[in-house]
């Protein structure tokens, strides 16, 4: 039971932070299918930086990890500018732009990882080895029955994510900027009439999405895979999109969806272990979150309302 909660949380929270980014982006009216690519590129930047500075720190020092998080944040933000440019400035189809960015991110990071490994580190390798981040257990709280597992064997990034999530929630729902952002997604003309620049709000929303996606990406690189390689593109970004869709583009229900994915996944793995099935059955378990997504979408899609102006190119002159 405890492992299910511990592993489930460490999968759900990075997913959640990406989904929050997606909510920001889509509530501002920009469709974001690029999360997958953004998280990969962010993780690449963070991992590259961590590998470069690793020699200046002791093996167990947590500093490279935190710096990697910072750089993943910045890297994701940088790459999201491409999405912003295509969608806002070049008025490209937002779905196409998202797909393009995913493909480009995958190709670029794979190429750069190999090239940098070969020319700087002199090794023929297609990954940056990072290791798994240290874990912490909160004394006292972890003794609580059942719920205590939440505070046991935490990755430090889970605390960071929780903090950022609270801030993101506050900004989106309780500040003037958050109001503008949500209005941009429903009625950009009204926002424009109120004297606020729609494209500026949307630019910030896309950048926030890129930054948070990058953060989520590096968390996966430091936990599940323990390295950066093309394995990072195993659909986390798309799961985040699915989570935010049946979270109805709201932050709290999205958290529920992410937790469901996380626990379905860790519960399935635990089941394979308990029943002592051969490891190839893990592939079947991996299907669980995706099947769940489809089922949930079948039940909830009708009731869900996407932001009204989502995916529409904002044209000041249109009436």
């Amino acid at each position: 039971m405890n492992t299910i909660i511990i592993d489930g949380l460490s999968f759900a929270l990075p997913l959640f932070i990406m989904a929050i980014g997606g909510i920001y982006c889509e509530r501002s009216g920009i469709t974001n299918l690029a999360i997958e690519g953004l998280q990969g590129f962010g993780a690449f930047c963070g991992a590259l930086f961590a590998v470069c500075i690793a020699q200046y720190f002791a093996g167990n020092s947590p500093v490279p990890f935190y710096l990697a998080m910072l750089f993943a944040f910045l890297g994701g933000m940088l790459f999201s500018l491409l999405h912003a440019m295509l969608c806002i400035k070049f008025k490209a189809n937002q779905v196409i732009s998202g797909v393009v960015i995913n493909i480009l991110a995958m190709a670029l990071t794979e190429f750069l990882t190999k090239q940098i490994n070969a020319s700087i580190f002199g090794a023929a390798s297609n990954k940056f080895v990072l290791g798994v981040s240290a874990r912490i257990t909160v004394p006292g709280l972890s003794r609580i029955p059942v719920l205590g597992a939440v505070f046991t064997n935490l990755y430090p990034f889970e605390i960071v994510i929780a903090l950022i999530a609270v801030i993101a929630w506050y900004i989106l729902y309780k500040t003037r900027f958050g109001l503008h952002l949500r209005a941009c997604g429903d009625n950009p003309h009204a926002v424009d009439a109120a004297g606020i620049e729609v494209s500026r709000v949307r630019l910030i929303a896309v950048m926030a999405s890129g930054a948070l996606s990058g953060l989520g990406g590096i968390c996966f690189a430091y936990s599940i895979s323990a390295n950066f390689s093309s394995n990072i593109y195993s659909g986390y970004g798309y799961l985040a999109i699915a989570a935010l869709i049946f979270g109805n583009w709201k932050i709290m229900p999205t958290l529920g969806a992410c937790l469901l994915f996380g626990f379905a996944r860790s519960g399935g793995y635990e089941l394979v272990k308990v029943l002592e099935m051969p490891s190839s059955y893990q592939d079947l378990v991996m299907v669980l979150p995706y099947v769940l997504t489809l089922l949930m979408l079948i039940f909830f899609s009708k009731k869900n309302h996407s932001p009204k102006a989502l995916g529409e190119i904002y044209d000041k002159g249109a009436r």
Partner: protein
């Protein structure tokens, strides 16, 4: 702005207008521009890496059998490289058709890779491992490929129509489901313990004739390319000359207008996705039972994603995708030879494809901008 800058700007405008300003020529001039820009970008990157870009590009052609290599192994030559290139081109043509038909209906089929896998795997276990004679097995493989792909595609269309589920999300979910389920089935029942892939299919069911001796050469002859050419012709005919094609295009341009015109939007979308999936299925069988003879578990091929680039670059026209799939396949097929002779990482091929895709996404903007300039000039 200083005078010289203004002059320069004017000159640039003129140059751009002369080359891609002509509206009739725009539909192929803009993609050509896109490709040239991307290739230039590639040259820049390769040069920065300290390698000779022209040499690298020439290697791409050599690897695809379009230019002679310095030396060949026994029974190999430019012609064998070229038939092997056609072998790789076949699934790409089908996959691009799949993306194209969905695009025409305003839908995005990101699931081509997954549909390929589902169709290829089903055909492998039903026909590939059977003892049927070649005359029956080969048509059956094609039929099964189309049907399984069409079913997978139609279910995506149905989910969109009935439950309003975004096709991008559902195709991606299906991709992962197919990938993991097929991987599980292969590892449990059909694995070849040496190669860690699925066991090879028999020659009877394979859509590529392997090691055919012609003259002094031993070459692979892809039969699927004939089907692909027929597929392109049929698609062009359906799209331009039939009611179904008209309805698909109407739904793709404006759902509301199509509804007012009395077109059943839901039905048309499901049909379009079914056709799209069917072609993806054909891409799958020509890939897994043609170009290759086995399936690697846990891997989705990149063909389905590259096909998006091919379809966009080919201006979503059936004839256009012949040229664009040719180009993209040259880049991807030739990259292995390029990396072994020039020492440029093979991954640059997909990076260049990505850049091509990026530039073609801006195509609509370029057209809009150029036409604005032209209006300014005329006033």
């Amino acid at each position: 702005m200083t005078d010289t800058m203004k002059n320069k700007n004017n000159f640039l405008h003129k140059l751009v207008l002369q080359t891609i300003g002509h509206e009739k020529r725009q539909h192929y001039m803009i993609p050509v521009f896109t490709i040239l820009l991307s290739l230039l970008f590639g040259i820049l990157v390769i040069a920065l890496l300290g390698k000779n870009p022209l040499q690298a590009y020439y290697n791409l052609l050599q690897g695809s059998g379009l230019a002679p290599k310095a030396s060949y192994a026994g029974h190999k030559g430019m012609i064998t490289d070229f038939t092997s290139f056609l072998n790789a081109l076949t699934p790409m043509l089908f996959a691009a058709l799949a993306v194209l038909i969905a695009l025409k209906a305003g839908l995005f089929n990101i699931g081509v890779s997954g549909q390929m896998l589902a169709a290829g795997f089903t055909a492998t276990i039903l026909i590939g491992y059977s003892d049927l004679p070649a005359v029956i097995a080969k048509p059956l493989v094609i039929l099964i490929g189309f049907v399984i792909g069409a079913l997978a595609g139609a279910s995506v269309g149905y989910l969109k129509h009935r439950f309003n589920i975004n096709e991008v999300v559902s195709t991606i979910m299906f991709n992962y489901i197919f990938q993991n389920v097929v991987s599980f089935l292969i590892n449990t029942f059909y694995v070849d313990p040496v190669s860690r892939q699925s066991k090879n299919v028999g020659q009877a069911g394979r859509l590529t004739l392997v090691d055919v001796v012609i003259g002094d050469y031993k070459m692979d002859i892809p039969l699927g390319i004939l089907v692909a050419v027929i597929g392109i012709a049929v698609t062009a005919f359906v799209m331009n000359r039939t009611t179904l094609g008209f309805e698909i295009k109407a739904v793709g341009s404006s759902i509301r207008a199509a509804e007012y015109a009395g077109i059943q939007v839901g039905r048309t979308r499901v049909l379009a996705m079914m056709l799209s999936g069917g072609f993806a299925g054909l891409a799958g069988v020509t890939y897994y039972l043609g170009y290759f003879a086995s399936i690697q578990p846990k891997v989705l091929v990149s063909t389905g994603y590259d096909a998006i680039a091919v379809a966009l670059l080919g201006n979503s026209s059936p004839i256009g995708i012949i040229f664009s799939s040719f180009l993209i396949t040259v880049i991807s097929k030739g990259s292995t030879y390029m990396s072994s002779t020039s020492g440029v990482q093979a991954e640059i091929a997909s990076a260049i494809t990505g850049i091509i895709l990026l530039f073609s996404a801006c195509g609509a903007y370029v057209r809009y901008k150029v036409n604005r300039w032209k209006d300014d000039r005329n006033n």
